[in-house]
Amino acid sequence: MQTSVAKKTAVPIKSRNFKKYLSLYIMLIPLVLYYVLFQYKPMYGNIIAFQDYSIFKGISGSEWVGLDNFKRFLSTPYFFRTLKNTVLLNLSLLVFSFPMPIIFALLLNEVRLKRVKSVVQTLSYMPHFISTVVVAGIVINLLSPSYGIIPMVIEKFTGTRPYLMVDPNYFRTIYTVMNIWQSMGYGSVVYLAAITGIDSQLYEAAVVDGANKFRQIWHITIPGIMPTIMTMLIMRIGNMLGSATDTILLLYQPATYEVADTIGTYVYRNGLLDADYSYSTAVGLFNSIIGLMLVWGSNTLSKKFTEVGIW
């Protein structure tokens, strides 16, 4: 009895819902089209990594070669070099650049002059709004051996003017310092927001217990923003292998390839400059899979130990 009543009323509701949903699905069309055409279609295009792809034959006509392209990559000296550089450059950012916005936020939070605080905030965000091209241009020109101010200052102390951009010993430092400069101020926003969210009663209680400033920061502020730190860390690790290619392309040159050539830049040179499509797709796919494993792994570890995860 009840079911038949339900059925009777269900019909008009259902048709009304369908009409309601229909307009929602129509709205979704551009988004879905974009993701199908510009994200998932090329994702499918990754299968040329297992082919000897020819642009004339297309994906359907090209010959399958299994894992040959991957084997080729593993057997070249570039495999070790690019993997090592990708890992080292990213580790360098993780160790030196990632903590900077946290420290910056902790110190800025202790500045009590409101005006100073807001001016420091605004000015320190500035590098974030300048394009990578311009930032790299500034770096290259300030380090230029013929007219850059930094080599000139170094000359005053050592007597020689170094050409830092072609010296493999300095590439990693230059890259890391540039990253810190760009991201320290703006990166602190999210931590400052997290600090604001900490219950002020905790500090009051700590003061009653006689805790000084450093103990308060250590025992209240840092644990309070730990979930934010972990979230940012996982996101950072997830983007580790992909995001830096356009920056490195601007900074490196053949003289520094041995320390600066990463998987991403190697793919760029082989695929786009030399048109070795299948091979460089395989190299890129290798990179993406490691990246996915990194983000999955760090998320799993983080969930286990800190109960923070991004999904």
Partner: protein, 291 residues
Amino acid sequence: MKETKGEKIFYFVNTLFMILLTLGIIYPIVYVISASFSSREAILTGKVVLFPVDANLEAYKYVFADRQIWISYLNSFFYTIVGTATAMAVTILGAYPLSKSVLPGKKIITFAIVLTMWFGAGTIPMYLNYRDLGLLNTRAAIILGSACSAYNFILLRNFFTAIPRSLEEAADIDGAGQWTILSKIYLPLSLPSIATISLFYAVARWNSYFWEMIILSDDSLMPLQVVIKKLIVDLKGVAAKSDSVDLSMLKYSEETVVYASIVVSAVPMLVLYPFIQKYFVKGVMVGAVKE
């Protein structure tokens, strides 16, 4: 609260340190601006430290006399404005339905979008895709190729999800369609968020160079960043053009022109960002809240 002597010292030293650090952060930009107004000799001999030396506008005259700079400036405005408008339309129309918990298929579509944040298609397949679609060397590739960012999509969807259901239920009973609910209820309520996300898109558009450099080949289509890259990173352009001229006779030089180009390309953002930074801060704060 009473302050101990140690705390007073801490506050003083800390504030002083933060001020000095900030001066250090802006110094490279101040230097570049000063150098762009200085003479070649002053730069080469290291006389420019903080303020311009032998102040002149020759480098800027040279930069603005270059037609390519103007063309690429206009192109950058075009890509930024049309690109942002397109991306906002796609993002708003996508985020609205996917903020409805009742919509069948919502979960799988959202997952498919979020996945692209962690697993991209790869540079070469993307490039071949542009070629297969016949989009190489077209403006459409620049506009459509980045018509949505997963991060911005999630941000807006979260904003929309936070809007109370009760507001639209009244409209729903009145028989208003979804388009009306979106435009009359959701959009007016989320104007600040929409401004934030538009600015995210616009700044990213203005500053991007990688795909533009790969996809475009005609000078007439180039955005500013690609032109500036050739000029200040590859250091090509100035020297080539002035081969026939004795550089020492001229007020401008490769060095000053490079610095002036840096300033010219960074100026729109440097002027705008103090006004838009509060939106960025807000966006980051909402984004930090887990979905």
